[in-house]
C-alpha cells in the first residue's frame, strides 16, 4: 500500500469504456510468469483454498488409516512408529496446514470484495505469505514422506521431542517447518489487519462491516501476538536438538513445562483463530437464506472480540494435570467456563435469525445450520473439560478427541464447506449441484456424528489418547468399530464434495452476479469478478448495501457511481473507524520477487535441516537479492504526506 498522487479522484459511473481501461491496467500476464508473479488476492485466495483442501485430504487419508488400525483390538496394521508419525502428521496437517490456511484463503478471496476495494493492502506480501505457506507444507511433507515425520504429536512435548528420545530428523523437519509457517502466518496477519483498517469502501464504518471482517481481524490480531511464542519454542527446540543448548534439557536445569506454556499460550488462541472466521461464515451466510439480517449484530461482533480476549487466558486448561498450584489453575478454570458466554451469544443469535426468518433450505444453509448444533456439542464438552477436577479424569482420553473434532470439524470444516457452497458461484460463476449437495451434506453429517458422538463414551470409559492399539477386554471394541465406520462415511461425503466441485466447475448452472439475493458488496459485481473487482469504488450507507430496498433504509449505498481511480493501478485508502476517504493508494504491479524470495527461504531452510551451511548461504543470498529488488525505491510508489481537509 503506497500513497500516490496528490489529486482528488473524479466521480463517475460504471461504463464499458471504464471497464475496458481498468481491465488493461489490472489484468495480469498469462503463462508461467503470470502464475508465479500474480499478486491478485482472488488468485491467491483460491490457491490458499485449494492447497488447504489438498492438505485436508492428506490428513483425512492419515486419519482413515489410523481408524483401520483402531477398528478392533490388538490389530497390527501399523507398528507404533508408523502410528505415531501418522497421528502427529494428521494433527499437524489439519491444524496448521488446513484449518488456518483455508480460512485465510476465504478471507483473502472475500475481504476486498466484501469491503469494496480492489486488493489487499499489501498484495505482494499476500503473495509472499501464500508461497511461504506452500513451502512450509512441502517442507514438512518431504520429511514425512521420507520417513521423517513428526512423531511426538502436534503438541510436541519435550523431553520426548529432545534428541535423546527422538533421534532422527522428524522433529527437526517439524520444528523448522513451523518456524517457516509462522513467518507466513505473521505476514498474513499484518496484511489482514491493515487491510481491515485502511481499505474499506467509503462509508463502511466499523459498525457496517460483515462479521467475517470481525472474525478474521480478531483471529489475525491474535496470531500476530501469539505466533511468535510458538515460533520461538520451535526454534529453541531446534537449537537444543542441533546445537546442545539447554532450554528444555532437564539435566542442565531446563524446563519441560516451559515448552508447554510457550506452546499453549499460542495453541489455545490459535483454536479460536481457526474457528472465529468460520463462525463468521455462518453469521454472514445464514441470514441470507433466512431472509433476515443477523440478529444482534453488535453483540455478535463484540462477542467475537471478547472470545479472543478471554481466549488469551485459558491456555492452562491444557495443563491441569501437570501439577500446577490449585489456586493458579482456578483462574484458568473460571476463564474457561466464562468463555461459554460469548460463544452462547453467537448460538442464540443464529437461532433467533432462523426462528424469526423464513429459511430457504439450500445445501449451504444446511451446512451453516448444522454448525449450530455441532458447535453446541463441541462447546459443552469444552465446558466440561474447563472444570479442573472433571478434567483430571477427562483429559488425555478419547473424550477430548471427540471434543476437539466437534470443534475442528463442526466449527471449521462444516462452515467451510457451507462457505464453499455459498461463495463457489462467486468464485467460478457456476453453482454447485444441489442434488449432489444434499448427499454430500447428509453423508458428512451422519458420518461425522456416527464417528464422533460415540467417541465421547469411549473416553468416559477410559480409553487414553494416542495409543496405537488397545486390549480386547476394555469395553471399547464396539465403540471403536462404530467410530471407524463413521469416519469412512464422512470420507465418502468429502469425496462427493470433490466430485461436485469438479463437475460443477465447468458444467454447473450459471450463477449470475447474485444467485442468493445476498446483501454484501461481493454480490454486486460479476461472477467471477474482474481483476479490478469494482469499476468504481462503491460508497456504503448501511450494513446491508444490497438489501436497502427490502429494508427501507433511509440512506442508500451508491454502487454504480463512485470514485473512478482509473489512471493507474489504484485503490482507495480510508480512515480506520469511519472509513472516510483518505488517500489514493498506488497498487503494485505483478512481480516474481515474493516467489524468488520464497525459493531463497526454502533453500535456506533446506540448508539448515541438512546442516549444509553453504546451501544455507546460497539461500540467504537469493533471499536478500529478492528483498533488494522488492524494496528498491520506485518513483511512482513513493510515500507522500496524506492530503487532509
Amino acid at each position: 500500500m503506497n500513497r500516490g498522487e496528490d489529486r482528488t479522484p473524479a466521480l463517475g459511473s460504471v461504463s464499458p469504456a471504464l471497464e475496458q481501461r481498468l481491465q488493461e491496467l489490472w489484468e495480469g500476464e498469462g503463462g508461467l510468469k503470470g502464475v508465479l508473479s500474480t499478486v491478485d488476492h482472488k488468485k491467491i485466495g483460491l490457491r490458499y483454498i485449494v492447497t488447504a483442501f489438498v492438505f485436508l485430504l492428506l490428513g483425512g487419508i492419515e486419519a482413515l488409516i489410523m481408524r483401520l488400525q483402531l477398528a478392533g483390538p490388538d490389530l497390527r496394521l501399523l507398528g507404533p512408529e508408523q502410528y505415531d508419525q501418522l497421528f502427529s502428521t494428521h494433527g499437524m496437517t489439519m491444524i496448521f496446514l488446513y484449518a488456518g490456511p483455508v480460512l485465510s484463503g476465504f478471507s483473502n478471496y472475500l475481504w476486498p470484495l466484501m469491503l469494496g476495494t480492489r486488493d489487499m493492502a499489501f498484495p505482494r506480501v499476500n503473495a509472499l505469505s501464500y508461497w511461504i505457506y506452500l513451502a512450509a507444507g512441502i517442507f514438512v511433507y518431504v520429511g514425512f514422506l521420507g520417513g521423517n515425520g513428526p512423531n511426538d504429536g502436534w503438541f510436541n512435548y519435550v523431553p520426548y521431542a529432545n534428541r535423546d528420545y527422538s533421534p532422527g530428523m522428524g522433529e527437526d523437519f517439524y520444528a523448522l517447518g513451523m518456524v517457516l509457517l509462522g513467518t507466513s502466518t505473521t505476514l498474513g496477519a499484518a496484511n489482514f489487519i491493515v487491510t481491515a483498517m485502511r481499505t474499506r469502501a467509503p462509508g463502511m464504518s466499523i459498525n457496517r462491516v460483515p462479521i467475517l471482517l470481525w472474525g478474521t481481524l480478531t483471529a489475525n490480531v491474535a496470531n500476530l501476538l501469539v505466533v511468535p511464542a510458538v515460533s520461538l519454542a520451535f526454534f529453541l527446540l531446534w537449537m537444543d536438538r542441533q546445537f546442545g543448548t539447554h532450554f528444555f534439557d532437564v539435566r542442565a536445569g531446563g524446563q519441560p513445562l516451559l515448552w508447554q506454556h510457550l506452546f499453549w499460550i499460542f495453541g489455545h488462541p490459535w483454536v479460536y483463530a481457526i474457528v472465529l472466521p468460520a463462525m463468521a461464515f455462518v453469521s454472514d451466510g445464514l441470514p441470507v437464506f433466512c431472509r433476515r439480517p443477523l440478529v444482534g449484530y453488535p453483540l455478535v461482533a463484540l462477542s467475537t472480540v471478547a472470545t479472543m480476549i478471554l481466549g488469551f487466558g485459558v491456555w492452562v486448561h491444557h495443563m491441569f494435570a501437570t501439577g500446577l498450584p490449585a489456586l493458579g489453575m482456578s483462574f484458568f478454570s473460571a476463564a474457561s467456563i466464562a468463555i461459554v458466554v460469548p460463544s452462547a451469544v453467537a448460538v442464540f443469535s443464529w437461532l433467533a435469525t432462523i426462528w424469526h426468518g423464513r429459511p430457504v433450505v439450500t445445501t449451504a444453509f444446511m451446512f451453516f445450520a448444522s454448525t449450530i448444533i455441532l458447535f453446541v456439542l463441541g462447546g459443552v464438552s469444552g465446558f466440561m473439560t474447563a472444570s479442573v477436577p472433571v478434567d483430571w479424569q477427562l483429559t488425555d482420553t478419547y473424550f477430548v478427541v471427540a471434543h476437539l473434532h466437534y470443534v475442528l470439524i463442526g466449527i471449521n470444516v462444516f462452515p467451510v464447506v457451507g462457505a464453499l457452497y455459498f461463495w463457489f458461484p462467486k468464485m467460478t460463476g457456476r453453482l454447485l449441484d444441489e442434488r449432489l449437495g444434499r448427499w454430500n451434506f447428509w453423508l458428512m453429517f451422519i458420518g461425522f456424528n456416527v464417528g464422533f458422538l460415540p467417541m465421547h463414551l469411549t473416553g468416559l470409559l477410559g480409553m487414553p489418547r494416542r495409543v496405537y492399539t488397545y486390549g480386547p477386554d476394555m469395553g471399547w471394541n464396539t465403540l471403536n468399530l462404530v467410530t471407524s465406520i463413521g469416519a469412512f462415511i464422512l470420507a465418502v461425503g468429502i469425496v462427493l464434495l470433490l466430485v461436485n466441485v469438479l463437475k460443477s466447475r465447468r458444467g454447473g448452472a450459471p450463477a449470475g452476479a447474485n444467485p442468493w439475493d445476498a446483501h454484501t458488496l461481493e454480490w454486486s459485481i460479476p461472477s467471477p469478478p474482474p481483476p479490478y473487482n469494482f469499476a468504481v469504488i462503491p460508497a456504503v450507507a448501511s450494513r446491508h448495501p444490497l438489501w436497502e430496498g427490502y429494508l427501507d433504509e433511509e440512506l442508500r449505498s451508491s454502487l454504480d457511481r463512485g470514485l473512478l481511480l482509473d489512471q493507474a493501478k489504484e485503490s482507495l485508502g480510508t480512515s480506520p473507524l469511519d472509513a472516510l476517504p483518505d488517500m489514493i493508494l498506488r497498487m503494485p504491479e505483478d512481480t516474481v520477487a515474493p516467489f524468488v524470495l520464497t525459493i531463497g527461504l526454502g533453500v535456506l531452510f533446506a540448508g539448515l535441516i541438512a546442516k549444509s551451511w553453504g546451501l544455507a548461504l546460497v539461500g540467504g543470498i537469493v533471499l536478500t537479492a529478492a528483498l533488494v529488488v522488492w524494496l528498491w525505491p520506485r518513483r511512482e510508489l513513493r510515500e507522500r504526506e496524506a492530503v487532509r481537509g
Binding site: 505415531d84 494435570a321 472444570s387 496405537y468
Partner: protein
C-alpha cells in the same frame, strides 16, 4: 478386575475419585440438556418459518426485519449463566477438597514413570524398611496414600481412574498426588501422557487390600529372594545374574542393576511387561525370548537363549515369589 470397563471412572472406588463423580454427572447432564434444548429449538425454528417446500426461488422470499429478536440473546445468556455459576462454585469446592495432599497420610509412595513401566518405591523412616517394586502397587483400604511422582526420562501421567484423576510425572520436578480406596480390589492404571512407542502398553495395577494383608505383603516384599534348592533353578539364577542383572535387580543375588523393573518378587505380581501379559511360565518364556515382538521398541531386548537356558531362567524366575 472390577467391571467390564476397567478404566471407566464414572464408577469410582475411592474418595478422591468419588468426589469428582457427582460434579462430572452434573456437567454431563447440563451438557446433554443444553444439546437437546438447542436441537429442539433449531428443529422448531426450521419447521415454523420454512418458506414452503424444496426448490423455492430465493428471490421470491422477501427480506424483512426481525423485531424483538434480540431478547433471544438476553434470555439465552441469562439461562446459561445459572449452570455456569453453579459449575464454577462446585468446581472450586471440589478442587479445594481434592487438589492438595490430605493432612492424614497413612502411606507414602514414590512412583517414577519410565519408558514404558512404573517404578514404585515404598518409603519408610528406616531405610531397611523401604523397598522397590514395579507396575503393581499395594495399598491398604481406607488409607490415604500420598504419591510422589517423578519422571525418569520423558513425561508420563499417572492415572488410576477408579481412585483418582491424572497427575503427570515430569522430569525435573516432583508432583504430588493422592489415592484412597474404599473398596478392596484390583484397580487398573494407565499412562495417559503420550510418551513414545509403547505408551499404549504402560499399565499398572493398584491392589487395595485389608491392612493385615497389606502388612503381610509388605513384609514379604522386604525379604530378599530365596536361595533356590534345585540344580535347574541354580543354573537359572546364574544366568539371571550375568545376563538379566545388566538391567534388573534381584535382591540377595548379584543381579543389582536398576535400569529395569525389580524382579525380587516377580511372581507376586499378576502381570508382566507393564500389563501386556499374564504372569505365567509360558508368557514369561515368550517375553524373554521375544519382548520386541510383543512390545516393539521396549527397552527389553530379545534374549537369544538356548531352549535349555530359557527353561533354567524361567524355572528360577518362578521361584521369585
Amino acid at each position: 478386575m472390577s467391571g467390564q470397563t476397567p478404566l471407566g471412572y464414572l464408577a469410582a472406588a475411592g474418595e478422591r475419585a468419588q468426589a469428582i463423580v457427582p460434579l462430572t454427572w452434573f456437567v454431563l447432564s447440563v451438557s446433554i440438556l443444553v444439546c437437546v434444548v438447542i436441537a429442539v429449538l433449531l428443529w422448531v425454528a426450521l419447521r415454523r418459518g420454512r418458506a414452503s417446500a424444496e426448490a423455492v426461488e430465493i428471490r421470491a422470499v422477501a427480506v424483512g426485519r426481525a423485531p424483538h429478536a434480540l431478547r433471544w440473546i438476553g434470555v439465552g445468556l441469562a439461562l446459561s449463566a445459572v449452570p455456569l455459576v453453579v459449575t464454577l462454585v462446585w468446581t472450586m469446592v471440589t478442587l479445594a477438597a481434592t487438589a492438595g495432599p490430605p493432612p492424614d497420610v497413612g502411606l507414602v509412595l514414590d512412583v517414577t514413570g519410565h519408558q514404558w513401566w512404573w517404578e514404585v518405591h515404598y518409603d519408610a523412616a528406616r531405610p531397611d524398611q523401604g523397598f522397590t517394586t514395579a507396575n503393581e502397587l499395594h495399598i491398604p483400604v481406607n488409607t490415604r496414600v500420598l504419591v510422589r511422582l517423578r519422571g525418569a526420562d520423558v513425561i508420563h501421567s499417572f492415572w488410576v481412574p477408579k481412585l483418582a484423576g491424572k497427575t503427570d510425572t515430569i522430569p525435573g520436578q516432583t508432583n504430588l498426588a493422592w489415592l484412597q480406596a474404599s473398596v478392596p480390589g484390583r484397580y487398573l492404571g494407565q499412562c495417559t501422557e503420550y510418551c513414545g512407542w509403547q505408551h499404549a502398553h504402560m499399565a499398572l495395577e493398584v491392589v487395595a487390600e485389608s491392612p493385615q494383608n497389606f502388612q503381610r505383603w509388605r513384609a514379604a516384599q522386604l525379604q530378599p529372594a530365596e536361595q533356590p534348592l534345585g540344580e535347574t533353578e541354580q543354573r537359572g539364577r546364574r544366568l539371571v545374574e550375568f545376563r538379566c542383572g545388566l538391567c534388573h535387580e534381584v535382591r540377595g543375588t548379584l543381579a543389582a542393576s536398576r535400569v529395569g523393573p525389580d524382579l525380587t518378587h516377580l511372581k507376586s505380581r499378576r502381570l508382566i511387561g507393564a500389563g501386556v501379559l499374564p504372569n505365567t511360565a509360558g508368557a514369561l518364556s515368550g517375553w524373554i525370548e521375544a519382548a520386541q515382538g510383543i512390545k516393539p521398541g521396549c527397552q527389553m531386548p530379545n534374549q537369544s537363549l538356548t531352549a535349555q537356558q530359557l527353561a533354567d531362567v524361567v524355572a528360577y524366575l518362578e521361584t521369585l515369589q
